[in-house]
Symmetry: C7
Subunit: 281 residues, 7 copies
């Protein structure tokens, strides 16, 4: 622990402090530039859709932070004479372990790249993937964030996002099953519902066309199941479905058509259900 | 940071701008050529079926975009003296991680190639694969898109499409189970349904032959289950099935044949079901 | 872009056109030869069973197409000076990724080879594999096609076909469970069914021997379950099973033997089921 | 395409024909020798159990066919100057893909070897493995065949046969659960069943010892469950179980002991179950 | 076992004791420094949010312990002339086994790094991951600890934390389903509940806005299901949900609106449910 | 096929016969020695527990057979000039495939070694592992055999035995749930059962201590569930549990305490459950 | 087999005997030293918690046995001139197979190390991991042992212990759901239970604070579900939960508040539930 060592240590610490400050400054400035850049593009010739813009703004900042911090880390390690490149390129057991351990990281970044490049989804879209459903609130280089109805934030590594279901691209369809009693006048029920459905688009602007009864999808034990199909604007199928359910219920009530409770036919026998004296029927 | 560096940076930026413009132009021109090419082929000697045409048009454009952008990316990186080839060929830990991480990408493209080459499905087909069902709206080099009845767009990497169920190639079959009460005259029920089925093909053009009763597929607790089998045009089995269900219900009503509710036979015992004083039967 | 380049490009395009025409001609001629070859073998000394013939005809054509197109592709690529062999043999990261990505392809072809070689199933067999059931309509080098009752075509990579259940090789067995009430005369029921079963083979030619009652397989809450076992020709167990169910039902009706509905024994208590004033029993 | 090429092609075709004929002859002769060999061993000093003999006969033929055809294939390929050895030993991308793709094949053969060597099961045994149950009808080098009760032939690669349940080696046990009503005289029921069980071995030769009542295995909501345990000859536990069920049912009927239906205790309340006017209890 | 060996052994033991003492001291001192450092930062210019502070304090200590102990272990091993570096770099079979076995360790550390770096969650957050839910109580280099409501401590390797659901970042939503009887005046029920919901935010400060009835989400067999949606502060959705349930119940009682019990419609038949003498209807 | 070849073939066959005879003799002699060795150890100074002895006897024979047969196989192959060592050491594609295919074999043997070395279970223990439960009847080098109650022999590769549940090492506990009616005098029921439990250890020698009532583990819809806990000798928990169930049932009957049937509270409404004319409530 | 060979064999056997005796002695002595060492540490300056002591004692002995036996095995093998080091370092096919096969072993030991190092659990803790729950009775180098309530010993390789749930570290919580009838005075029920809960901590010393009613967690079909939350000492949540259930039941009985049975509302219709003559409503 001679003085030279102390001097070298001091120098290193100074360098580290300088690197950290530099990194902070670069990120602050970079973030501003990104905001301005996407702000201006709205009027320039290279306009991009508003849908992609939020995505790209967030992604650019995210990428900037990763790159700056990664560079800073490598610079700091080199300050202490740790050669990252050699470390990573080194083969042997450690290399094998690192290579296997790091493959998830590489897969996440490749997947992230394709999510952006293929425009699979943008910030604000409602998607389902990797077992969760919700609105995309951030697409990053390594992870994406999705917010459910219930407010939970799901943080998903991009490599887990193999298959995506996007609800925000195309028109949706509200599918409502209505149960009609076997005992009621089935054709009148169909006619009453059809009349109702014809009136609905005028009251619900998110309906794209007149909903229709597809037909009898099930002859269930206690009821006939009719299926109603209504095309709606994207993401409007939930409120439209709830509205159809309510209006159908009220209209059927008005017309005195029965929505059936479960039925049962009961035979009562007089024996005790036991076998005393061969009494069993 | 000497002036030479600034000049080189300026040059690089100019080159990048040039590459981006070039890529945009190539894609626009290429897209036009592809449209024209497939448009003309309709009358030329190398006609292809309409079914494959939409698929190939979309695929060609998709491939064009990938190739152009990839080339542009490599050119830009080389502008900044990053040798992509060496990067990819480099072995060591990083190489191992990249190799493992990228295998999904390679598998996607190989699978995509075989989907096209073997004509597993075309744009517009109704297929089931990887846990989703819907109409194919795009077959790309890396991913395919499928749209469900409900309007959701499923984006599926081709590597996930291992096993495909195609509903659009061959005739479909509507299979309807009708329940008949044990108490009714079973043979008359069979006869009534058979008469109805014979009349149906004249009313439903998508029925390919007279539907038939296969027989008794279940002696369930409360009912006898008859199965009706009706061959239909591809994808018409759903509406035909719904029509059969409705008509069978109405006809059985007319003829007074019972569609059974769940039955139960009840024995009432007089004790309280408790054991006070050995009262239990 | 000197004239020499244009000339070389022209030459290349001519070569490509020539290769494509050649490939088309080879496939057409090859297909004819295959048809003739298998047609003639019917009378020659090297006869093969009809069952394998359809399989081999389809497979030969399928293989021809793959080989011709693959050769054509390699020739076209070499026209543009892309050496496929070197590409495939190349090690490094890309090689690793391709090697892993392509292993599915190799596994598919190996599996396909063994399906044919071991005669696991032929075109026309009814098989169950990889979660689907249906008739085999094509066995290819890489994928096989199976058609379900419902008309869906399942396209299955051969590598997914690990375990096969073949219904078309051996006689099948219809297994029918008949429920008899605890209250009925159980031995008479058994005797009545046995008499019926003895009459059946004369009426159903696909029954191979007299069906028999195996015995009481369950003493269920509401009924005694008898199991009937009937050996049939391959694939005839479904219609035979349906016939047995129908005839047993009709015969038991005739003989006044009860097919039981679910039973329940009910004790009614006079309290309200609440605890007001210690009223609970 | 000079005449020399034609001559070489002709020679090659002649060689192929010769190889095919040779292979066919070798297989026919080999099969005969195998049949004779195992036929004679029955009296020779190296006797093997009948159980293993069928297995080994089938396996020997199966191995013979694989070896001959494989040799023939290699010879034919070498006729056309394709060096199989070099192909297989070749490293690089193709080698990697083939190596991974072929590992299933190697695993199948290793597993197959151990099935025979450890005598896990023989042709004719009833086994359960890889999700199927049935009689073994063939053990091959790569796959084994199992036939279910229903007549389906399951073709299972030996590599899938990791865990085997063999029903044919040791005595089996019929386990029958009998339900007795809470209301009946439980000890008398036990005594009646015990008397019956003592009589049974004289009537059923496949019972190895007197069956016994293990005791009360469940106090279920509506019934007491007694378990009967009967040791039987291998594979006889199914018929013995059915016989016990039938005899116990008849005996309990004779003795007037109740096999209980599901019970329920019902409290009727006078309110409507709604809350109008605080009417709820 | 000459004296020299004994001396070397003695020296080694002394060195080990010295290393252990040194490690203990370094950890004690380091822990103090870490505590002071984060304590001071509260007023310095580089302030960090309180949320991250607890996380970083715990993590820093955790990392310190790992690094010190690992260094000590290597030093001790080298005392006994075991070269750890060579051991790890050594290829061959042992290296392969170690490399594969250690990949989990590497993956854990990489994942742990990204959890901190991307601020996926902090100590004190309520998260769901890897099948458990609870409050984060420690984020370490290799494992994180989560405490459930029930007091169980879950110790999860960071590599298992692929997908995280964080409940503490954003506002939550209480979703309550209320069942209304088909027989009641549905619109009045809706109105009564709406009035109640309007009053609630004044009484519950954790409600962020007035809760609302989304609509009819199900027409169930016995009841109409209304869904109530209430935005709340993070983690307050559980108590808010319980409060809404209670208040809705009490209000509906007051207003005499029925919360429905399961319904059933019963047809009583006079026959015995048997078939004696064709008596069946 | 010159005479020299015939002579060498003859020599080879003679050698093979000699090897086979030698192997048979070695196995017979070795088996005897093993039997004697373990027989004598019973009195020698190196006594081993009886529990391990059966295991080691079976294992030693099993290992002997493997080693002898493997050596014989290698010797026979070398007779025909096939160098097994070179074959196995050979790299390339075949080596890769064999290496992957054989890893299961290696894993089985390593696992088998640890089962013996760590004394996880011995022949005769009742264990649960790999989804099966039963008595261990053989522990081999590669596979172990387990026999279920029903007599099935499960043959399990040791590599599948990752996690073992051993029932034969320590005392077991019989856990019996008793249901008591809400309507009965709950504290008296508890007292009656407690009295019974105190009497039981004197009658059942396999009970290790007085069983106790743990308490109320569930307030189920129709009953209160009490849990009884009884420590027993290993494997005696099944018969003890059955005995407790029977005695509790009889004692509760004696004392007139009710074991409850499922209860239901029924409200009868007078309407028809339909909505004709607003008739609903 | 010359005399020299016999002499060398004799020497080898003598050496083996010597090694075995030495190993036995080393283990006996080592075990004693370990016992003494941990015994003394209780008063020394390097005290460790009692919780870790049992763990470390067992682990030290376990490690000693492994190390001694492994060394002995290597020494014995070298006696017979088998070089273990060369065997393990050998590459080629065998090496590949061994490397893959042995990775589980390495993973087990690495995991075991971290279980101890991170103090995830100690001997005596109640933990849940790898699908089993119970008290830890041994933590070894390769496997750990867990004993369930029922007395089963689970032997779990450390590599299977990825995620651990430790119940013994922190206070537990008893969570009890109480059902209250819709018809009862809900607020009085709440008040009665609250009074009871306030009295309980004085009677149950393992309760850490006054339990509280969280609120209404479900409006179920037949009942309102209240949840009670009680913090307890570690592992005391089960007995506390049972006590709460019992006391709540008794108190509600006293106060005449109903614990509801399942309810049903029944509409009786007069028709037969069939359709004869349009008789259906």
């Amino acid at each position: 622990m001679n003085p030279e060592l102390w001097i070298r240590l001091g120098e290193a610490i100074l360098q580290v402090i300088f690197i950290v400050i530099l990194a902070t400054v670069v990120i602050k400035v970079g973030t501003k530039i990104i905001d301005q850049f996407y702000g201006r593009r709205k009027k320039g010739p290279f306009r991009i859709s508003a849908r992609r813009e939020t995505t790209l703004t967030k992604l650019s900042k995210n990428t900037l932070i990763y790159v700056v911090y990664f560079t800073a880390l490598v610079m700091i390690l080199e300050t202490f004479s740790i050669n990252v490149g050699a470390l990573i390129a080194g083969a042997g057991v450690a290399g094998l372990a690192i290579g296997f351990g790091a493959q998830n990281l590489v897969r996440d970044i490749i997947s992230g790249f394709f999510i952006i490049f293929e425009d699979q989804f943008s910030v604000g879209d409602f998607i389902g993937t990797a077992g969760v459903e919700g609105f995309v609130i951030e697409i990053g280089l390594r992870t994406s964030k999705v917010k459910s109805w219930g407010g939970e934030i799901h943080i998903i590594p991009n490599g887990n996002i193999t298959q995506v279901t996007n609800y925000s691209i195309d028109n949706a369809a509200a599918i409502v099953d209505v149960k009609v009693a076997y005992e009621s006048d089935f054709e009148r029920a169909e006619q009453v519902i059809n009349e109702l459905l014809k009136e609905m688009p005028s009251r619900y602007s998110s309906m794209i066309s007149t909903p229709e009864i597809l037909g009898v999808v099930d002859l269930a034990p206690s009821e006939i199941t009719l299926r109603i199909f209504a095309e709606t604007l994207p993401m409007e199928h939930w409120p439209v479905g709830r509205a159809i359910r309510k209006e159908v219920k009220l209209r059927l009530d008005e017309e005195g058509i029965e929505i059936p409770f479960p039925r049962i036919v009961m035979y009562s026998r007089e024996g005790t259900g036991g076998v005393q004296g061969g009494e069993r029927v």
